[in-house]
Amino acid sequence: MKDRTALRIGSTTLRSRKYLIRRLPPPHQLPSGLAAIPKSPRGGAGTPKLQPSPPSAMALSRHLLPHFLRRGGPAVRALSTAAAPAAAVSSAEEDEESVTVKGVRISGRPLYMDMQATTPVDPRVLDAMLPFNLSRYGNPHSRTHLYGWESDAAVEAARARVASLVGADPREIFFTSGATECNNIAVKGVMRFYRDRRRHVITTQTEHKCVLDSCRYLQQEGFEVTYLPVRNDGLVDLAQLEDAIRPDTGLVSVMAVNNEIGVVQPLEEIGRICKEKDVPFHTDAAQALGKIPIDVNRMGIGLMSLSGHKIYGPKGVGALYLRRRPRIRVEPQMSGGGQERGIRSGTVPTPLVVGFGAACEIAAQEMDYDHRRVSALQQRLLDGIRAQVDEVVINGSMEHRYPGNLNLSFAYVEGESLLMGLKEVAVSSGSACTSASLEPSYVLRALGVEEDMAHTSIRFGIGRFTTEEEVDRAIELTVRQVKKLRDMSPLYEMAKAGIDLKSIEWSQH
């Protein structure tokens, strides 16, 4: 064998990272913008450079993958007889490079415009994670050998990176399996710890399901919960919040950036109110981390839930911030060996945590650049759609919004049928038909959006790897589908004829 230790992953032979870079096709053969693995643009350079944009991770892999897959394919697959028939199917699919989506075959993969659901892993994050899967795979809690020590060092380094992104001390960060687990620990753990003195929880109606479900669970245990309504623009009313706080309130939970509508809550004001009343303030910052500047001290945050896969990190990891001064105590939800200072038992997954740390570090460097770029793209999307289609409503406040989340309602068009037509764009909808029950999204209802408008909402998510071409194509496809559906819509016809839809008595069955 002329090569040294070589490991096959899929059908790619990786000898070292240098191999990966050396095997790229020469730059003149790559589409523009993919000339090199990107280095992050440093500092604020006046205007955001939209061309060349950091290449989409998926565009990168889409162009590179066939290059790698053609090498040594059959040799690898022949080893596993069980996979032989499946291999034939998959090679046929790869040859055609087409994907079957919703019963329709399209070429290539859909444009990804659903960044609030999850984000692609940044290639630099993947680079940081790989060694901890392949060679430095020790358990960070093994105290007796090098593998454990180096793993532990990596976990602590990642902890420091996460802490510095939010202005916290590394001892205040505890790794978990994701923001859902963090929310569970925060809500249930705090209330159960202080169950003798504190019996009341305040939250909002637009929180994530895991917070609302944890509160419902607490209600069954005998606690009282106040679900604060929000205004029409999605922001919580501070006067109402202040009135709702009682002497026995144990927790106020308000999410920083809403996942459905992208509205940013006034964290500093809420933190100030909670500090005055001496109530712990918990915020679900899964969508906010790395996108808006967070400072736990300036914002008076006592507990915070963070998620890895919303900031271009791996899925399956999150972190809980627990303030030390004044110390917030929680009852652990996972019993076990007492890892993570007893707050969350279980082996800390080193590769995931290292990935999370790397993602936070990248986010700290690129937050400004990303924010400017994403704002410009959002404006482009909005202007492009509004120029060609009327009666488009933006759900949620435009001023207090994270630009990467655009939730639009198209009047007289139903959301699920619009999604069905947007085969080449991956977006999400707040429509009833897309949820298992026939109810429209509770967040939109809390905003006071009429039921018929709630059915028509589409959420566009723009992120670090979204390109101008993707936005333009999304505009083109959306406008085309909306126009087609409006032609088919009796409500549009009636509205254009001047009939007031609210005055009609509908016959239901």
């Binding site: 080893l79 069980a82 139903e414 069905m420 032609d487």
Partner: protein, 165 residues
């Protein structure tokens, strides 16, 4: 060399496994996704449009409610002499299954007698489109739309007859 073979052996089944999920995914998508007839009706809806509501031989049925997300308008043009439906048009605001159901309904009523049409049952539309249980209300709405259109036409005819008398 041994390391390489060991690596290949370890990852051989793994790389085979990554082929299997691709096939499984396609199958799952087909199961979870829409039947191709629904997609076909959505992409090429038949008989979209409107007749003049005030025409004597046109019956209009509007059913549904924006609150539950589906509104269907079905119009039929009836030949006075034979009582046969000669043409139909529909407009629907609703999910893909609702559009497909009303498109199918508008096709099926063409050429049928008005009495026959009342027998068109929900389950025929649902079976034709392979609608999942959660979407059955769309085909029920289509049936209701047909009945409403027929009723409207008969009410119009009844009024005209009364006016003549």
């Amino acid at each position: 060399m041994m390391l390489r073979t060991a690596g290949r052996w370890l990852l051989g089944p793994a790389s085979g496994v990554e082929a299997a999920p691709a096939a499984a995914l396609a199958a799952a998508a087909a199961r979870r996704g829409y039947h191709e007839r629904v997609v076909d009706h959505y992409n090429n809806p038949r008989n979209v449009g409107s007749f003049d509501k005030d025409d004597a031989d046109v019956g209009t049925g509007i059913v549904g409610a924006p609150a539950c997300g589906d509104v269907m308008k079905l119009q039929i043009r009836v030949d006075e002499g034979s009582g046969r439906i000669v043409d139909a048009r529909f407009k629907t605001s609703g999910c893909g299954s609702a559009i497909a159901s009303s498109s199918v309904a508008s096709e099926w009523v063409k050429g049928k007698q008005m009495e026959e049409v009342g027998e068109l049952r929900t389950r025929e539309i649902a079976k034709h489109l392979s609608l999942p249980p959660v979407k059955l209300h769309c085909s029920m709405l289509a049936e209701d739309a047909i009945k409403a259109a027929v009723k409207d036409y008969e009410a119009k005819k009844g009024k005209l007859v009364k006016a003549d008398e």
